[in-house]
């Protein structure tokens, strides 16, 4: 089976680097910030694969580079080095490192093949535009040009994400946090993405709301078999959703494996600490 998403040596440095820390940033033993020039390793030499229909977890404490990784994959940040390949399912398709593509091409790929849900709905939604419009924007970006078809699709997605369809023309600003998160999910799924990126989507929600959002994600995953990267600092969320997990610290992957293996037989010092710190 061919991986859907392939990432090799993905690196993002914040800062210009110096003789001490280049190339690739300061060594992991020293942390993620160069003591001489202050350059921070947002993401250091990260490699991973996501297979079709698979859910990959990314855990680590805040500042470990989880969100940076997701934003690099979503082309929101420019990588310092590395390769990203997205296999579109066609056997004969040319293998192109997406990081070397023009911003125009990358935007196309993002519009057609990726979806993202942020922790903060303000990042993923236009609060003053109608909820249906928020979904429409993604469809319009993917080339949809028929209003009634767009509305039909938006209504379908809102129904799937348990938002009353009669509130479709209301702006998300009127909605509760959990509803906003579900509108975000509807928007992210609107273009039938190959990869869905979930960045701490349940953080900050009430427990019962959190459960509902997680159930929704799990059901959608099973129905649509969409591949996902789930970023969370919550091991419970990871255990619930992900078959495989990588553990990040100081911008680097310190451990990776089957989720049950990482959680029950962690080998890296940091993972052991993380697992034993669970409430």
């Amino acid at each position: 089976m061919k991986p859907l998403l392939e990432i090799h040596g993905l690196t993002k440095l914040f800062g210009s680097g110096c003789g001490h820390c280049l190339p690739g940033g300061v060594s992991p033993e020293e942390g993620n910030r160069c003591g001489r020039c202050g350059t921070v390793v947002g993401c250091g030499d990260v490699s991973l694969m996501v297979y079709p229909g698979e859910v990959l977890g990314v855990v680590g404490e805040s500042g470990s580079g989880k969100s940076t990784l997701v934003r690099l994959i979503h082309f929101e940040l420019d990588a310092t080095a590395g390769e990203i390949y997205l296999n579109n399912g066609k056997e004969d398709a040319a293998r192109e490192n997406l990081l070397m593509q023009s911003p125009f091409r990358r935007r196309q790929i993002r519009s057609r093949h990726m979806g993202i849900v942020y922790q903060n709905p303000w990042l993923g939604l236009r609060m003053q535009v109608s909820s249906g419009g928020n979904i429409a924007e993604k469809l319009l970006a993917a080339g949809w040009r028929n209003v009634s078809e767009i509305r039909k699709r938006a209504a379908f997605l809102l129904e799937r994400t348990e938002i009353p369809v009669n509130r479709m023309d209301e702006p998300p600003a009127n909605f509760s946090g959990g509803m906003q998160q579900r509108v975000q999910i509807a928007k992210a799924l609107s273009n039938n993405p190959q990869v869905l990126l979930l960045d701490e989507v349940t953080t900050g929600l009430d427990l019962s709301v959190q459960a509902r959002v997680l159930d929704l994600i799990r059901n959608l995953q099973r129905e649509l078999a969409v591949a996902m990267i789930v970023v969370s600092h919550d091991l419970g969320v990871i255990r619930l959703l992900c078959q495989r997990t990588i553990v990040m610290r100081h911008g680097r992957v310190v451990e990776s494996g089957l989720t049950d293996q990482v959680l029950e037989d962690p080998r890296h010092e940091y993972t052991q600490l993380l697992v034993s710190s669970q409430l």
């Binding site: 249906g132 040009r145 767009i150």
Partner: protein
């Protein structure tokens, strides 16, 4: 001091013989700058080319973009027509016309067919134009995306990446709220399948005239320092949905009270004395021509 006195003031002061301005007022360096940017604009249809906008003896925002294009292109043998909202006789049009004539000596006309160079504000003439003519449009706001994005930096990135979903979203929300696209003028168009362009505040009526035309259309925004172009035979397609089509203004059942035309863009005028609503051709040159026939 009137215009002619002002232009001859050095001669009057005794410090020179000829007029102290080049043909068509602009110096050669300025003309070269503007012509180069026009060439670039023609090469990339619909793309806004920044240019070094010059100071002119009229204020920014009064057609200086169009005027600079006209002045950098005009030749002694040109025949010039200047219109303001279709009208040859408005103060603005007359002022610009007089100024150009004073600095070039070119012949003036109100006949679209006769003119080689037409500078216009907010209208495209009704009479079909040919490949021997150039239409220069004055543009107040060259950025079609400004409605959805205030930052110039961001709109430039959006154009570069053809990231136009927000413009489309604007139309979608319009339809959700009003059940139709309510944009009356400055209707956004896609040029050559690539850039979304502001066609200047021409009515929707004039949009189809830009599509696959014989004529070169040049757009100049003096205050905003942008030049862009639609070359001849270039597709210009208004933004529309499959089920919400672009429509031009509907003048069904109305006719010009002067020439009787039923196939032109009409201005509505209320007679102060009688309170009657009357319709007249917005394009006065065209109306005159019909009346003369």
């Amino acid at each position: 001091m009137n215009l002619r006195e002002w232009m001859g003031r050095k001669k009057r002061d005794g410090c020179g013989n000829g007029p102290d301005y080049s043909f068509a007022f602009l110096d050669d360096v300025s003309k070269r700058e503007i012509r180069r940017k026009i060439l670039k604009a023609v090469a990339i249809p619909g793309y806004q080319v920044p240019f070094g906008s010059r100071e002119l003896p009229i204020a920014r925002g009064w057609g200086t973009g169009g005027l600079q294009i006209t002045l950098s292109l005009v030749l002694p043998e040109d025949i010039l027509k200047v219109i303001d909202q279709g009208c040859d006789g408005s103060v603005n049009a007359v002022n610009i016309k007089r100024f150009i004539q004073a600095v070039t000596g070119v012949r003036l006309t109100t006949d679209t067919g006769e003119a080689t160079l037409i500078q216009t504000r907010h209208r495209v003439p009704e009479e079909p134009m040919t490949d021997a003519q150039i239409l220069i449009l004055q543009v107040p706001y060259p950025e079609a995306l400004r409605e959805v994005e205030p930052s110039e930096r961001v709109t430039r990135r959006m154009h570069a990446e053809a990231d136009y979903s927000r413009m489309w979203l604007y139309l979608y929300e319009d339809i959700v709220k009003f059940d139709e696209i309510t944009i009356g003028y400055r209707y956004p168009v896609t040029v050559n399948g690539r850039y979304i362009m502001d066609p200047s505040p021409i009515p929707r009526w004039d949009i189809p005239k830009l599509h696959m035309a014989e004529t070169l259309f040049l757009f100049g925004a003096g205050r905003e320092k942008r030049i862009y172009a639609v070359p001849p035979h270039t597709p210009v397609v208004p933004l529309e949905f499959e089920d919400f089509r672009f429509r031009v203004e509907n003048f069904e059942g109305k006719a010009c009270a002067r020439c009787g035309a039923t196939d032109t863009y009409l201005d509505e005028i209320i007679d102060d004395a009688t309170g009657r609503r009357l319709f007249f051709c917005s394009d006065t040159g065209f109306c005159d021509k019909r009346c003369g026939e």
